[in-house]
């Protein structure tokens, strides 16, 4: 399991591994939105939580189709499926690697980009907390989508259509946490729901993903 994690991280860091792809996209969104919307601070402050969360979500989506497709193409997935580690574990570890490579950098860079969007000071802490709690769900749900479309040529479009509706609750509650936090309101309820989604997805979806992979490997 640990070997798989270190291999996936190593693959991401080497040339062409896709590390930084999501980060660059997130950066572009946060830089371009103020240019498009205009410099009024009040407007930007109002839309900042939503923009930052949408940007993080789409940045996660960007690298998903590689999650299993690369292993499928070079035959590693067949070999992993016949290896002594359970396929559910493979899925969970690969989701974790995806989160470490995509989600964690987004969490870390988000406060910096919050400055560009004139996010109210009170919102920074909640932005980091909500992204840290919510992005694991994006990776786990995304892994399920990637498992469903593995083996489909140009499965990226299908993957987006499958995964986006599943991302909606995470987006709503995540952005709500930041919005309420920035406004100085209580954030307990959306934060608990966000954490609940993440925990439920992490607990259940690896089994669904492994089942989908088994069907697709036949």
């Amino acid at each position: 399991m640990l070997a798989l994690l270190t291999r996936d991280l190593r693959l991401a860091m080497r040339a062409g591994g896709g590390f930084g792809l999501g980060l660059a996209f997130f950066l572009l969104v946060a830089v371009l939105v103020p240019l498009g919307v205009g410099p009024e601070g009040a407007v930007l402050a109002k839309i900042a939580p939503g923009i930052l969360w949408v940007g993080a979500l789409l940045a996660c989506l960007l690298s998903l189709d590689r999650l299993f497709a690369l292993d499928f193409e070079d035959g590693s997935l067949d070999l992993l499926a016949t290896a002594p580690i359970p396929l559910e574990g493979v899925v969970a570890v690969k989701s974790l690697a995806h989160w470490l490579v995509t989600g964690v950098p987004l969490v870390l860079v988000a406060p910096v980009l919050g400055v560009l969007l004139n996010l109210p000071v009170a919102g920074y802490g909640w932005l980091v907390v909500s992204l840290a709690l919510g992005t694991p769900a994006l990776s786990v749900i995304g892994a399920f989508g990637a498992a469903l479309v593995v083996g489909v040529k140009r499965g990226g479009l299908l993957l987006s259509l499958l995964v986006l509706p599943l991302y909606v609750p995470t987006l709503i509650f995540g952005a709500e946490v930041v919005k309420r936090g920035a406004g100085g309101l209580a954030v307990g309820t959306p934060l608990a729901l966000l954490a609940g989604i993440t925990l439920a997805a992490a607990a259940l979806l690896p089994f669904a993903s492994a089942a989908a992979l088994r069907v697709n490997l036949r």
Partner: protein, 207 residues
């Protein structure tokens, strides 16, 4: 350890390709599968490896006893030869990486990135992976494709050592593998006669 296959039927894309197949393979024995293209050699190996369910029949061994080597070697181009092999050794919980590198004559290439290997060298790396799985029964699909004559001899030696250590090998191939003592099983007589669409599962109803 003995693989006994009884009255096995396997399907590809919802269509039964082989049926009524029975054979057994004991420790120290090798069996070569022959038959024309599309007869179901790869499908049979994938079924035995547990990657797809059998349509009918019984197997005496669990897939956990078998190591499967497919057409694709499962090599990551950006990792070096040694990193690739160490990964598979760690996944299998084994450690004989140095021995495997030596056995397939890869020691000089250990720091080379897999992207820079030739097709034959990649295949040798794929075969070296078998040595680090620690599994008894090898399921090999066209193992000598793109190997040169010297490497085919090397492959023969590795398989013989595996057999001598109580292992077994089931190989699908069209060419002579250089393992004279291996028995040959021609799959053509087991070709399914009624290649009707199976009503086995809902996913196959759409094929």
């Amino acid at each position: 350890m003995e693989l006994r296959v009884h009255d096995l039927a396997v399907a590809r894309g919802g269509i039964t390709v082989l049926e009524g197949l029975s054979f057994s393979l004991g420790a120290g024995a090798a069996l070569v599968l022959r038959g024309p293209n599309g007869v179901g050699k790869t499908t049979l190996l994938r079924t035995l490896a547990g990657l797809q369910p059998a349509v009918a029949g019984r197997l005496s061994l669990e897939p956990e006893e078998m190591a499967y080597a497919a057409h694709a070697d499962g090599i990551k181009a950006v990792l070096t030869v040694e990193e690739n092999l160490r990964f598979w050794a760690a996944v299998s919980g084994q450690g004989a990486v140095e021995a495997a590198l030596g056995a397939m004559n890869l020691a000089d290439l250990r720091h080379r990135r897999a992207a820079h290997l030739s097709a034959g060298q990649k295949r040798r790396l794929g075969l070296a992976r078998l040595l680090v799985t620690g599994r008894k029964l090898w399921l090999l699909d066209e193992p000598t494709v793109s190997l040169d004559a010297a490497s085919v001899v090397l492959f023969g030696q590795v398989v013989r050592q595996h057999l001598a250590a109580g292992g077994a090998a089931l190989m699908a191939s069209h060419v002579d593998l250089g393992i004279g003592e291996a028995a040959v099983l021609d799959l053509a007589p087991y070709r399914a006669t009624r290649s009707a669409v199976q009503a086995g599962g809902f996913d196959e109803a759409f094929v």
